[in-house]
């Protein structure tokens, strides 16, 4: 009797209980480690700096002050100035905005291309599937940074061209992921079980497919953004980064090169903040992966 009541109680409570539980469980697992939480805080600061940076920055990124060139950190210039008298603090704030715009935009471009091709390959199958997966295999085997270089030469070194150049080469992993999800959905046991219990397709899509797909995609995007940040800055190292005077982390790091020993603050701050940001993004991505998929992962 008690057992039946208990069972009934659970069943009666199920719909309201279960709807929140997946996200809540994931959140509980996410905050179990302090690193993903700390990383999340830094990512949040980074994003806020990217959004509000231009208003906070004491100087515009083109402002030069020759009388105060090559100054160390001070109250007026918290992160020092470079050889042209640019305020490094403002340069970094603008760099954060540019980095965010390009990385998020490029990831979105890759994601959309990946979704379209992945869905096409997974749903159509046959020749389309084979052709797309061939290209995906190539993109995985070929160092895509080299394609980025050629594309930047062709498209130019503005914000939008670089965004496209990075976005257009990064779709392979999303396409593979989405195709895998589609195949899993079509032939998977979960869907078969739900079908045999009489679930309708909209119900299956909402309750079973969407949560699965959403978490996988969130994890993929969390890994994708820092990867695009790395590529964007690396373009500057062979002289193909954002066209100066637009500041970016890559430009700051590449320009500082020869003067490093005399004016080390020109590298301390950009390299330090960039490193901290990439670390935070990866800890967040790693934390998300473990939160959503406690059994798998490494």
């Amino acid at each position: 009797m008690a057992v039946t009541e208990l069972a009934l109680g659970v069943v009666g409570d199920e719909s309201s209980f279960r709807r929140t539980s997946q996200a809540q469980l994931a959140w509980r697992r996410y905050r179990r480690n302090w690193l993903p939480v700390a990383g999340g805080v830094w990512v949040l600061i980074f994003v806020l700096a990217g959004i509000f940076g231009p208003w906070v920055a004491p100087h515009h990124y083109t402002d030069t002050d020759f009388l105060n060139a090559n100054q160390g950190p001070s109250w007026e210039f918290p992160m020092g100035t470079d050889g042209l008298g640019h305020d490094m603090f403002s340069q970094i704030l603008w760099s954060i905005r540019n980095a965010l715009e390009i990385a998020v935009g490029a990831t979105a471009v890759s994601f959309v291309i990946g979704c379209v091709l992945g869905l096409w390959a997974g749903l159509r199958g046959g020749l389309a599937d084979q052709a797309i997966m061939r290209v995906v295999d190539f993109m995985f085997a070929f160092p895509s940074y080299f394609l980025n270089l050629i594309l930047v030469v062709t498209l130019g070194r503005g914000m939008f061209p670089i965004l496209i150049a990075i976005g257009i080469t990064g779709w392979a992993s999303y396409a593979r992921l989405i195709r895998g999800l589609v195949l899993n959905m079509r032939n998977g046991e979960m869907v078969e079980a739900a079908r045999s219990l009489g679930a309708t397709w909209p119900h299956i899509a909402r309750r079973y497919l969407l949560p699965n797909v959403l978490s996988s995609m969130l994890v993929a995007l969390a890994f994708g953004i820092p990867a695009d940040l790395v590529i964007m800055a690396a373009l500057s190292l062979v002289g193909l980064g954002l066209l100066p005077p637009l500041p970016s982390f890559g430009n700051l790091i590449a320009q500082a090169g020869p003067n490093v020993l005399g004016y080390p603050w020109l590298l301390y701050f950009p390299a330090g903040i960039f490193a901290l940001t990439l670390l935070s993004f990866l800890f967040v991505a790693d934390g998300l992966q473990e939160a959503f998929d406690p059994k798998g992962g490494s």
């Binding site: 070929f142 130019g156 820092p226 002289g239 790091i253 390299a271 490193a275 990439l278 670390l279």
Partner: protein, 321 residues
């Protein structure tokens, strides 16, 4: 399928892929706005010539174009370029019409190859023991420290690490290791360490994961049950299988390392392939740009092929296909 047939098929695929990449690269660089002549590097001296003697300038440009075949129709240029590249006849760069690109490659390529191969070998030597330790001490503080460090190593790209090391050994403790140049063994230390941190992270994580997986297998329990010493169970039974899985990671790791050498060379002023690319790409020096990425891609794809053959040789369950 026999090894010879497998190799033959893969080689044909490799050549076709490379040919397509070369053609696309050539077309894209051709479509790029501006030419080598308009870029600021060469503008000063030639710009003066153009003002003082337009006729001579025109002749110079025409001569230049016919020398590089730029006056021919695009399709002919592209086909010729691909064919010459595939037969390793690279010609000369735009910037340096008297020095064959082959000469520049001969001094630059070995440097990048040493950096990339040195880094991968070092990472394997360090990563495997770390992965084994992490797997055996699973869920202890040692394991979580190693795993966190692996994530950190993977998160920070080689060039940022290189910059941080330049600051450390240039500003904080100068004179310990050379932070610039190429030629002595000491000068190879920092670049190779910068290149290896991420790779060690990847290999440690992968080794840990695959060893944990293998240790769950029943044949390992059988070995333990029949009284094989713990050390032998791990080295002879478990590790042999997890190492086979590790071979698959070497391909992508090597590919990423080759790209990273380009970045790290710029930070440490090393005259490798990255140096050539840094000179060629911003000035739209088409032959040198495409040749340098062609040579590096060839190295990556060749390595992928070797890895595939090795994997199939070590794991008889995987058929050559």
């Amino acid at each position: 399928m026999g090894v010879a047939k497998f190799l033959g098929k893969r080689l044909v695929a490799l050549v076709v892929t490379i040919a397509v990449v070369l053609a696309v690269a050539y077309l894209l660089m051709y479509a790029a706005p501006g030419s080598f002549f308009n870029s600021t590097n060469i503008g000063a001296s030639l710009g003066q010539l153009r003002l003082q003697n337009p006729e001579l300038y025109r002749q110079y440009v025409e001569q230049f174009e016919s020398r590089y075949g730029l006056d021919q129709p695009l399709w002919a240029q592209t086909l010729k370029y691909v064919w010459h590249s595939l037969t390793f006849d690279f010609g000369t760069s735009f910037a340096n019409p008297s020095v064959p690109i082959m000469h520049q490659l001969r001094s630059a390529f070995p440097i990048s190859a040493i950096l990339a191969i040195g880094s991968v070998v070092l990472s394997i030597l360090i990563g495997i023991p770390l992965g084994v330790v992490a797997a055996l001490k699973r869920n202890t503080w040692l394991d979580s420290t190693l795993t966190t460090l692996s994530v950190a190593g993977q998160a920070i790209p080689s060039y940022v690490l290189a910059v941080l090391m330049v600051l450390l050994f240039g500003v904080a403790m100068p004179g310990v290791v050379p932070i610039n140049g190429w030629g002595t063994v000491g000068e190879a230390i920092l670049p190779i360490v910068a290149l290896s941190a991420g790779n060690v992270g990847v290999i440690t994580r992968y080794m840990r994961g695959s060893l944990i997986e293998v240790l769950r297998q029943e044949y390992v329990r059988t070995a333990e049950a029949k009284g094989v010493p713990r050390f032998n169970v791990i080295t002879r039974h478990a590790m042999r299988n997890s190492l086979t899985a590790l071979i698959t990671v070497v391909g992508p790791t090597f590919a990423f390392t080759v790209v990273s050498t380009v970045w790290v060379e710029q930070i440490f002023s090393i005259p490798g392939m990255g140096n050539l690319m840094g000179a060629a790409f911003p000035t739209k020096d088409v032959p040198l740009s495409i040749t340098s990425i062609y040579i590096l891609s060839l190295m990556v794809m060749g390595m992928n092929l070797v890895v595939d053959v090795l994997y199939r040789a070590f794991d008889p369950r995987v058929a050559l296909e």
